[in-house]
Symmetry: C2
Subunit: 342 residues, 2 copies
């Protein structure tokens, strides 16, 4: 009999979505911290900020004026990393020096006209309008012939490189499928071929048996800390029904999804009693016109904080050169988060 | 004829060492920054700090006293993420929930008794002593039968999660090959099978033709910004001779390697006139007793700063969900770094 204990001994966990591993060091949570502390931003923002380029009626850097929008608002990013007019071309020297031009579209989505809110503060009905817009954008962008993948994401908090606290997210849509969704395409495809079932549906069934890592559940979605979570309080929101992309979400599912996001982000804010920073993003099937029967819609949340409002997990030397490493176990994180869901 | 221009248009570049891609958005360097600024630490450290647990003769958290060491000093990490005594075992539920225990050893290496130095300040002869110790540790740790990979790395600067400015690095040695070196094992192995030559030797030859991305060169090593660099001022130090690991480095090569590290880190410090933060690490063949004819010794430097001493590149939403993205081109970064080598 082995004495091996997941809650005590260093171990590796396998991520079936990417095919990669994470190192877990449960005993290490006791390590003292004398390093960098983040500044804790004072959150007393006005409802409307005349200096904010995302608030209604204000003027952006390129001279355009935002409308007096009342729920959500979307526009092309004035400093997009991808551009629609990029000429085709490549630069190649043998096998080892290879570049290809990349066309795409970058958009910004304001979640609310209110400068002082975040998704965690918004009513589910208002988050639902954001979900509607994501659906619409996925369909519109995905239908263009030079767009084969649509990445919807949010950076929340200065620590996540967000330079404006006005609640907003982004969409980067492009010609090729980026590295992370490409890994998930492969892994989900292989699993589907072998089992004729969705990898995430099977995984979700396992999680719902023990509920050890489940954070919140409603009619159509489950939020949980995945067994292979990298970030201390990482979660994944999985649809109960197996569908490929947000374009296929029903009205009911959209309500349920909005509610899940509300429950989860509000729980996050209770972890350290501050507006909890994270990057989040939706992973779904490419828009290249192929069928992806193995793809299962889901949303990732990657929050950086580890032990307090000011001490984050650093993904540095070993993590960059080897693979991600975490201290607290996913089970401990799930316990805490679950206790904070109202 | 295509108008596509690497210095102007968004494009993807291929990393043959990992098989992954990076998105490059050269035009985006003009983007204004209103987000988080890092604190600039004032660097007036004493030669000896009585409160530092790495300085000679001081006592560490576990009660052990450091010797009055005069060059380098190595000890087992008091809060290691890996432990020698971890029992074997696994936790498995079907294909989708899989964990395995992981044995290993974590060590800390002090580069110098002087609290106020960094590798960039040290004389090449003293860096050479660090190289000697890396060689010795790789051989000693690698010869243990439960150690199949030895990761040597350094986190420099608070922004890289380093909690003590005393010049030091770490070694995490373990039973399995971590994700990043595993990718490089696959890619270098495939290339060697196809060409009977080292991937990095062929790449280095291409780079030495144009010297566009070369930063510094000496008798046995070249430091350059790889064509596929992710971090703004990322570099790679490649040995001219094709060998697999530091155990095979000759006396002359060790001197040359120390000199390369000196030249590169000193140039880094001139970029923004501050002690330049980075994570660095050596990638080399596993120590599982197999032959790896394709493996080619090299060292990566991943510095986070982008546009000033206080503004870093954030690898967040798109980067986490899609793939890494960079603004300034590797060629521009190499030009600047090269001009700062003395
Ligand atoms: O080992 P240290 O210096 O205490 O910790 C630092 O380096 C480790 C290895 O890259 C990381 O896991 C930690 O997040 C980081 O803070
Ligand atoms: O687009 P923003 O908010 O200006 O910029 C932020 O998000 C981008 C997408 O994740 C990152 O590339 C930037 O490093 C980050 O600062």
């Amino acid at each position: 009999m082995s004495d091996f204990d997941l809650a005590e001994h260093p171990h590796r966990r396998y991520n079936p979505l990417t095919g990669e591993w994470v190192l877990v060091s449960p005993h290490r949570a006791k390590r003292p911290w004398q390093g960098q502390q983040e500044e804790q931003s004072q959150d007393t923002r006005p409802e409307y900020d005349p200096g904010c380029y995302l608030c209604p009626t204000n003027t952006r850097a390129n001279g355009e004026q935002n409308p007096a929008y009342e729920s959500t608002y979307v526009f092309d990013n004035d400093f997009g990393a991808l551009q629609e007019g990029t000429p085709e071309g490549a630069y190649v020297k043998g096998d080892l020096i290879r570049a290809e031009s990349e066309r795409g579209i970058c958009r910004v989505i304001c979640f609310s006209p209110r400068h002082d809110l975040t998704l965690a503060d918004m009513a589910p009905e208002d988050i639902r309008k954001v979900v509607d817009l994501w659906q619409q954008e996925y369909q519109e962008l995905g239908s263009k012939d030079f767009i084969n993948y649509v990445q919807i994401f949010e950076n929340k908090g200065q620590i996540m490189g967000c330079s404006n606290p006005h609640p907003h997210g982004q969409i980067w849509a492009q010609r090729t499928v980026p590295v992370e969704p490409a890994k998930e395409t492969t892994q989900q495809g292989l699993y589907f071929e072998q089992h004729q079932r969705s990898l995430l549906a099977d995984y979700l069934a396992l999680e719902l048996e023990t509920r050890e890592r489940v954070v919140a559940e409603n009619e159509h979605f489950v939020a949980l800390v995945p067994f292979w979570a990298v970030w201390p309080f990482e979660t994944i929101v999985i649809s109960k029904r197996h569908f490929q992309h947000i374009g296929q979400m029903t009205e009911e599912e959209k309500n349920s999804f909005a509610q899940s996001i509300k429950a989860l982000t509000a729980a996050y804010d209770r972890v350290f009693g501050i507006s909890f920073p994270y990057s989040s993003g939706i992973h779904q099937s490419p828009t290249d016109g192929q069928a992806y029967p193995g793809w299962h819609f889901h949303m990732h949340f990657y929050p950086p904080l580890l032990r307090s409002a000011t001490v984050k997990k650093f993904m540095v030397g070993y993590e960059m050169m080897g693979n991600p490493q975490r201290d607290i176990t996913p089970e401990a994180a799930a316990n805490l988060l679950r206790s904070l869901v109202r």
